[in-house]
Symmetry: C2
Subunit: 389 residues, 2 copies
């Protein structure tokens, strides 16, 4: 029996993975399953990006790049920001997905015992990254009254002598909600005043359905901004993300990246260079509009079934719904919905400890036809007449 | 000023990166530089592997794989071991390079304060991974008398109540030396008896110039074996490695990988599937023979210049030489050799704290013609007649 480290007792698996695995098993048995659990765009990577990856391979780009990334890609990422927020390319670090960016952020910043404030519900890996480096994630319960986001007041209220950093995800996974720009400005000021570090996860930027999300880089050069080619740019499997950091810690980030990554996959970096081309942008906008239409269908359809979605999310591709009027235990509900109705969704337990059994997450990274079929199946499962789809 | 974590004071950069950067600057100024610093094969990725990557992209394989890797790749890696050492595919974890494997190993195994024994000189990242997770790397000085490798006796001698694991690299970077199979068997028995975990880095397996290296998996299913497609398989920039672990900790490894990596680059995993094809093997054997010929040229040529290489290394593509008869300070020597003679080598300081100023590392991941030019330049720099090249 191999003994494992104590931290692993608190680093949990994604329960959605178990749901997905079970769904695949049922499919292998011939069952039809509607997937509303997966947090991955259903679109393949856009053709010009794929072609750029192929061209890079044909050109023999198969060796290491510098640890901070291809200089041309760092420059292209910097240039992708509006002028008022644009970082110097020296502050841009190419990372193996936003996961790699978060590893660098917490590895470089967090001492054992340091606290990091974050919203509950939230993306589960965030607290696990902090635990990995012996820090403590302080999960602050948030609800519809703040669009499921932290506020400056909440941060100030929960700040302790051990608090070192605040993590904001906007748009959020699982809620899809944004921090309004004025609130972000106040959060930036508050964290600076308290002497902490603000980390902003912007990986769903681009996938917003009202006003475009503004980067926190508009407000400060001190914030750490995490982003990715995975979601908006549709490059999940390639594993390329980025980090914009204050210039004074880029040297330390470089040192850690040299040691733990060496570099990011070279063909993937070359492919990502094509993600900023105008013809790709046009395709990405078309996809965003498709996500927008899906949200506009799914949110009212789920509400009509009795799910409570108090804030219509403005971004990402998730709906975080209170299911307590329909089921007492969302774990059991999700399990039965999969087994009996063939619809895969994610129970709230993946996203924190605040009332997880009252909530479920629906992903609309699936076709309208599949979403409509899912709603029909859920209605039938609940013994309700089909909604007007 | 952003405060960084205490651990970063002990996580050092690769000095070879500074050498490389300076070499590139000199080249940009028109200087000719012979590269004997870089730890990367000078061969591009073999064509069938590149074509498999391209085919995967054309087939649309751009989405996430399971966190443990493509099942077909895990099976192919398992099948690549001789039958007597072959692990069940369930024990094989595909990782973002061997760096990713070491992150998983130490993240899953090491508690704060736990000690890990390793050889000095050794690959610098190893001690930094341990530090990253608040463990302590105990660097055991080794010399030619044990081929620069740990032995069961050394392990027993330095074992303390806090010792948790032993890391062996065979062949070693920077020395290229192997642990003989009988010694490995004794090390396996000793670490088991002491109640610790044995981690064996086999990333230079395949690149050996005498008897083929035998995997530690021949001796035990309890060891953790780290390997990679980077060196022997010539896929450095793709970032694909693997870990073979005891079955009882694969679930914990999966959990950590889900959280910190999500998965390994998908096109790279599909490309790696081609690495085991017979036509690729034939090419890799040809390349290994070329490395063999380079070693057979370079080791005597450097000895003739006055470098002391007491053990002729049997693997990897490095020569670790005592330079103290030629220069008092290897940092200064490496700097002057680059600036004045146009030869880039790595000073000993990258590889530990034991007499680093007496040692330098030569890489022979360069053409014979370049290596001969390097030797000529070093001879001229030292004021010696050219050796018989």
């Amino acid at each position: 029996m191999t003994l494992i480290a104590k931290r692993m007792a608190e680093i949990e698996s994604f329960h959605v993975m178990a749901i997905l695995a079970r769904a695949r098993t049922l499919e292998a048995q011939g069952r039809s399953i509607v997937h509303m659990e997966i947090g991955e765009p259903d679109f393949p990577t856009a053709a010009p990006i794929v072609e750029a990856g192929i061209a890079a391979l044909r050109a023999g780009h198969t060796q290491y790049t510098p640890a901070l990334g291809l200089p041309a890609l760092r420059a292209a990422i910097a240039a992708s920001y509006p002028e008022a927020a644009r970082p110097d390319a020296a502050r841009v670090v190419v990372t193996p997905g936003s996961s790699g960016a978060l590893t660098l952020v917490f590895g470089v910043l967090i001492n054992p015992g340091d606290e990091v404030l974050m919203a509950d519900p939230g993306y589960p890996c965030n607290r696990h990254f902090v635990r990995l480096f012996e820090g403590r994630a302080t999960l602050l319960p948030v609800d519809a009254s703040t669009s499921y986001q932290l506020t400056a007041a909440l941060i100030r209220q929960h700040w302790t002598a051990a608090t070192r950093a605040v993590l904001i995800s906007s748009p959020s996974n699982p809620t899809g909600t944004l921090v309004p720009d004025a609130d972000m400005a106040e959060i930036v000021r508050t964290v600076r005043e308290l002497g902490g570090v603000l980390i902003v996860d912007e990986i769903y930027h681009g996938l917003t359905y009202g006003e475009p999300a503004r980067s926190a880089l508009h407000h400060s050069t001190d914030v750490l901004v995490v982003n990715s080619f995975s979601k908006y740019y549709g490059m999940t499997g390639w594993r390329v993300g980025w980090l914009v950091a204050p210039l004074d810690i880029v040297e330390a980030i470089d040192r850690l990246a040299q040691n733990i990554f060496l570099a990011v996959s070279t063909p993937a970096q070359h492919a990502a260079l094509a993600a900023f081309r105008p013809e790709v942008r046009a395709e990405l906008v078309r996809r965003r509009d498709e996500f927008h239409a899906r949200r506009d269908y799914l949110a009212p359809a789920l509400r009509a079934l009795g799910f409570d979605i108090p804030v219509t999310p403005e971004g990402a591709f998730y709906l975080y719904a209170d299911s307590s009027r329909l089921a007492a235990d969302s774990d059991d509900f999700a399990r039965r919905l999969l087994e009996e109705a063939g619809v895969a969704i994610t129970p709230g337990r993946d996203f924190g400890v605040q009332a997880p059994k009252r909530h479920v997450r629906f992903s609309y990274a699936n076709t309208q036809a599949q979403l409509q079929e899912g709603v029909r199946r859920i209605a039938a499962f609940l013994g309700q007449p089909a909604t007007g789809t």
